[in-house]
Amino acid sequence: MQSLAIRKLNVWYGRKQVLRDITVDIPLRQLTVIIGPSGCGKSTLLKSLNRLLELNEQVRVTGRVQLDGQDIYAPGVDATEVRTHIGLLAQKPFPLPMSIFDNVAYGPRIHGRTNGNLEEIVRSRLEAVGLWDEVADRLQAPATGLSVGQQQRLCLARTLAVEPEILLCDESTASLDPISARGIETLLCELKGRYTLVVVTHDIDQARRLADYVLFLWLGELVEHGPAGSFFGAPQHELTEAYLAREIG
């Protein structure tokens, strides 16, 4: 994959406009964090990147999201194909109603990427998220039997098994206990370099820990964006400064 570029993106829920004229390039194989107060459009922006927004019937989108120069909203582009390249880790872990093994095997199975070696794929993905040792002896057990933190790692393994190039994370640690949340953060840090990650959070400290690049949204507008060092070190906009100082938000 070469690039992910957002151009003049506008999103409406019914008559309410939630994103205004967003234009930004997402850096490759880095971890980009989207921050901003609740309701500023962080999750909307994230879900516009793999066309999950469309599941809401009230949504209208204008503008372009270009993956390798190809607009994913262009007519004739299949949302299914887009989502194969751009995976999502949701806020709340949500295992599929099947066994631990089948959860991870699901993606490779439907995409026909098993190569007769499904066990190996499942094992490597579970190892990648540090779950293998915990579940190796109960792969056929229901995924719902896992703890919430384990479930979120399982969901990450499931997403990685589809072999996306871009991984979207929607406040993926918000519903976890602090230790599990740290575990997911560590995993995300390990994944950058190999994947392009876009992470939504409302936690400024987490953003500081994770980010290579930062987007700051305020009331649906992209106020400021830049590399983490200069963004946190010397914010250009007074709104950003106030938000980082926790005076607003």
């Binding site: 793999n50 999950l52 999502l88």
Partner: protein, 284 residues
């Protein structure tokens, strides 16, 4: 202080009232079971459930109601299967493809209206259809008519169950790059225990329905042998036996009702067992 007394009295009064109604419902169910068992248990015998009627059965001579047991099982199973064949795709279509729109509302309204139509009306409709197609009263005609009776029950129950499936299931599945059709498979896995409940409800309603099969399935004293021949059914067996003037035949009617009730009970228990097994992976 005064207000407190009033509120406490109000609480106690309505709690008491509700307990009375709960007890009434329980007592009614108990009474029904008691009457059927009390009147029917004496006539219940192995012969009763293992043989078809012999000559003079309705005058109190030998034989049993195996023809009606078999006929009812065939009718209800066939009708439930046929209704499921239509209802399951309709419901999945509503939830996976159609979304919340005019078509969906219209479909639900149509099913609700169908639910309210008395089964004798379906019987009359089935009868008219039979004449049109040149079909005689038969197992097949009975199955088709009964399928119409249970279709709305099956479809609306399953519809409600699919509505209860968590919204994130769709997001979680589709974000893996699945097609809607593949999502449909996941949705079905999530809702299979509920589907079984819906099938059971439909089956229970189907096996007990007399009016829709009266003209369409007919009645016969012989065992069912062909889709194109009439079959007996338990509700009609109860009806015919109860309308004779002979006490021993009337007792058999209660025994037949007992058999019908017991069959529904057994099927409920079986379904309950399989639901907990099938529900192993369901996300709650």
């Amino acid at each position: 202080m005064k207000l407190n007394v009033r509120r406490r009295l109000e609480e106690r009064f309505f709690l008491g009232l509700m307990r009375v109604f709960v007890a009434t419902a329980a007592i009614l169910l108990g009474l029904i079971l008691l009457v059927i068992v009390w009147r029917g248990i004496g006539a219940l015998s192995w012969e009763m459930v293992s043989q078809a009627p012999q000559g003079g059965f309705y005058l109190g001579k030998g034989g049993g109601i195996l023809n009606a047991i078999a006929g009812s099982l065939l009718l209800a199973t066939g009708a439930t299967a046929l209704a499921a064949l239509i209802a399951v795709p309709v419901v999945l279509y509503i939830h996976v493809y159609a979304g919340q729109g005019r078509l969906t509302n219209l479909l639900r309204l149509a099913l609700d209206v169908m639910w309210g139509i008395p089964s004798i009306v379906y019987g009359a409709f089935g009868f008219a259809l039979m004449i049109l197609l040149g079909l005689r009263a038969s197992l097949l005609a009975g199955i088709i008519t009964l399928a119409l009776v249970v279709l709305p029950i099956l479809a609306r129950t399953f519809d409600e169950i699919v509505s209860m499936a968590p919204g994130q299931l769709r997001e979680a599945t589709l974000s893996l790059g699945t097609t809607r059709f593949e999502f449909l498979g996941v949705l079905l896995r999530q809702t299979v225990p509920g589907l079984l409940t819906a099938l059971l409800l439909a089956f229970g309603r189907g096996i007990g329905d007399a009016a829709s099969v009266l003209f369409t399935a007919g009645y016969t004293d012989s065992m069912p042998t062909s889709l194109l021949r009439p079959v007996a059914s338990l509700p009609l067996a109860v009806f015919f036996q109860l309308s004779t003037p002979f006490p021993e035949v009337q007792a058999r009617a209660y025994a037949s009702a007992l058999v019908l009730t017991a069959m529904i009970l057994v099927i409920s228990l079986l379904a309950h067992l399989s639901i907990s097994r099938l529900g192993r992976h369901v996300i709650r």
